[in-house]
């Protein structure tokens, strides 16, 4: 019975995802995502934001399929740059540690091929988990009322803060500043204009696309523009034969891939975790279980494939909390939620019931997208390798052009372009001061929701804050948030050097592991 039901759902999804328009946008999304993932200096958050304006012109399913394709496409693509050029993209930074040494030993082809296999495995399991877990979770969440949602937002906010890279205190500051930015504009309940400082164009609030492109795109370019990146690879060195792993490499890899997949699929379900954390955990665990941990940092294949599998699995399962609870798993999910909201669709427990075509269409588009990505990465890998030889000094002005026109096109407002620049400056300052910008974007989405649910809960309880502890589900969720918080405190006092090692987990330019 369950199998029939699943086939029914997949058929429904295929009717949505299989239209020519949606197939085209899925292809466009994964290809552009892959492209922007491969190219240095453009993070995937910026990539998704650049394409955000396009979603205003197409139906919701099409827009969502494209943005999602960009998202996991960028994860696939990012590892190429990490292995060949030691470029630490946020999501693939950890793969530099062993991927680049592998490339220097002449095993770049194998590393690229095996990470594609790892991505495929991680994504496939992630998609299955999404299809199996999202509907029952949504059914449970249907009973949730404002106190439960308030508790969930608190958990999501705590998760975003403690799981982000860097100091948890600083990440909490980022989340709260994001929440405050989310409040800018007219308060729907009272009609009072908050934090607009007399600017009429702030009355509607600040768009998440403007903020994301500024914080992630502009500031990234400000940091990297002054650095010369000289591509030092020969595209011809990646031949068909060089892709094939030896028997030993294969036997080392497959267990690592499975472990990474499991870790990623589990972590992705947590609000606030996301693929970056999954890849770091995947690496850490491989190093723990390895017979010869000393090989790590010198081109251990497990250290490349496990994080990649974990990142891709987390990418897919991250859609579970995002779509069923409305709690974004990472900043890119926050941008996607905003894109849905613009279309008048709110993610939450009702989402799968009221928009089954959208949900199952998305699931089927993931399957199609992953097949496309494998095709891009196995027969056409040489193309992407050649792309890496484009000098960065030609790339970043082009990216700036797309960001500026993209931001302008949202509301045809030059003010938005300047606003993006302001957020670029804020992002640059945050990076200088070691504040993670990702939690800010999650706070931006969660802030208004938190205020609304707090207000409603307190009206229901006649002003008694104990309502959050009297309802079992909200009390449990809040207890989980408190536990996460206490664990973080304990950890930061327990082992300061280890903590610092994780905080500085981004590999250095030389490719030396810093542990």
């Amino acid at each position: 019975v369950v199998i029939v039901e699943i086939i029914d759902h997949l058929m429904l999804g295929w009717r949505e995802a299989g239209t020519w328009q949606n197939l085209f946008y899925c292809f466009l999304g994964v290809t552009l995502g892959n492209l922007l993932g491969v190219l240095p200096g453009v993070g995937s958050v910026a990539a998704v934001s650049i394409l955000l304006p396009v979603t205003y012109h197409v139906p919701p399913a099409t827009g969502l399929i494209m943005l999602a394709g960009l998202y996991y496409g960028a994860v696939y693509g990012a590892v190429t740059g990490a292995i060949l050029l030691n470029i630490p993209h946020t999501v693939s930074a950890i793969e530099c540690l062993d991927g680049y040494p592998m490339a220097r030993k002449g095993r770049a082809g194998v590393a690229l091929f095996m990470t594609t296999m790892a991505s495929l495995c991680g994504s496939t399991v992630g998609i299955v988990v999404l299809a199996l877990f999202a509907p029952p979770l949504a059914a449970v969440a249907l009973t949730f009322r404002s106190p439960e949602y308030f508790a969930l937002v608190v958990l999501g906010m705590t998760g975003a803060a403690v799981l982000a890279r860097g100091s948890p205190i600083k990440s909490f500051v980022s989340v709260i500043i994001g929440m405050l930015i989310g409040l800018v504009g007219i308060d729907v309940t009272s009609g009072v204009a908050r934090f607009t400082f007399g600017f009429t164009n702030l009355l509607d609030g600040i768009g998440i696309g403007v903020i994301a492109m500024g914080l992630f795109g502009v500031s990234e370019i400000m940091i990297n523009a002054g650095i010369v990146v000289s591509p030092a690879i020969q595209p011809s060195s990646i031949s068909w034969r060089s892709l094939l792993p030896t028997r030993e490499e294969w036997s080392l890899s497959w267990r690592a891939i499975l472990r990474g997949t499991g870790i990623g699929a589990g972590l992705g379900l947590l609000p606030g975790a996301g693929p970056v954390l999954a890849s770091i955990m995947g690496y850490a665990i491989e190093k723990q279980v390895a017979r010869e941990p000393d090989r790590f940092g010198h081109g251990a294949i497990e250290g490349v494939v496990a994080p990649e599998a974990a990142a891709n699995a987390a990418c897919q399962t991250g859609f579970v909390p995002t779509l069923t609870l409305g709690i974004p798993a990472d900043p890119i999910m926050a941008v996607m939620l905003a894109a849905l909201t613009v279309k008048g669709i709110s993610a939450g427990p009702d989402f799968i019931n009221t928009h089954p075509d959208l949900f199952w269409g998305l699931v089927v588009s993931f399957i199609i997208g992953n097949i496309l990505l494998v095709i891009w990465h196995v027969p056409f890998i040489g193309l992407w390798v050649r792309l890496l030889t484009i000098p960065f000094q030609l790339l970043f002005p082009a990216v700036l052009v797309f960001m500026c026109i993209g931001v302008y096109s949202i509301q045809q407002s030059p003010m938005d372009v300047l606003m993006m620049l302001i957020f670029g400056g804020i992002g640059y300052l945050m990076r200088l001061l070691r504040f993670a910008p990702a939690p800010l974007l999650i706070g931006l989405v969660l802030g208004p929701a938190m205020e609304q649910h707090l207000r409603r809960s307190l009206i229901v309880s006649h002003g008694d804050p104990m309502i959050f502890l009297q309802r079992p589900v909200s009390a449990t969720i809040l207890a989980a948030a408190a536990a996460v918080l206490l664990w973080t405190l304990y950890k930061s006092f327990g082992s300061a050097p280890a903590q610092r090692a994780i905080e500085n987990g981004v590999p250095q330019k030389t490719g030396q592991p810093n542990e």
């Binding site: 012109h57 709260i176 009272s190 934090f195 523009a225 002054g226 002005p397 002003g463």
Partner: protein, 149 residues
Amino acid sequence: MSPAALRDTDVIGGVLTVAVAAGVLIESSGFGYGTVLRMGPGYFPTVLGILLLGLGLALTARGLQWQSEPIARPQLRPVVLIAAAITLFALTLTTFGLAPAIMLLVVVSAYASPVRRPLVIGLLGVGLTIFAYVVFVRLLSLHLDLLRW
């Protein structure tokens, strides 16, 4: 206070956080707090402001006690040039049209890089102008003139 503390990322970040929190608290005091039963528009931002104040003070104290790491020297040249390029784009786009705005954006921002070849940059600008015109104006029908005076 030692000069090292003044350059510490925790101390600077903490002091800035406290300043933002103070601004938030002052600004939200004018919104009306309301009561717990009927939260006014100032209630929630004030709660956030107090949390932010606490975090900022904790961060400052941590930085003064255990120095974390000194702030990196900002690279002024790329930051200033990229900021100028984006500002010029925003100012020229609607008054002079797409072509001059993109050319200015590309040329000014390209000089942020240590590798600068005027001819290549010029060609890149022309190419991007044509591409942007075809994609955004023709295909996505964004209302922009190529050139206007």
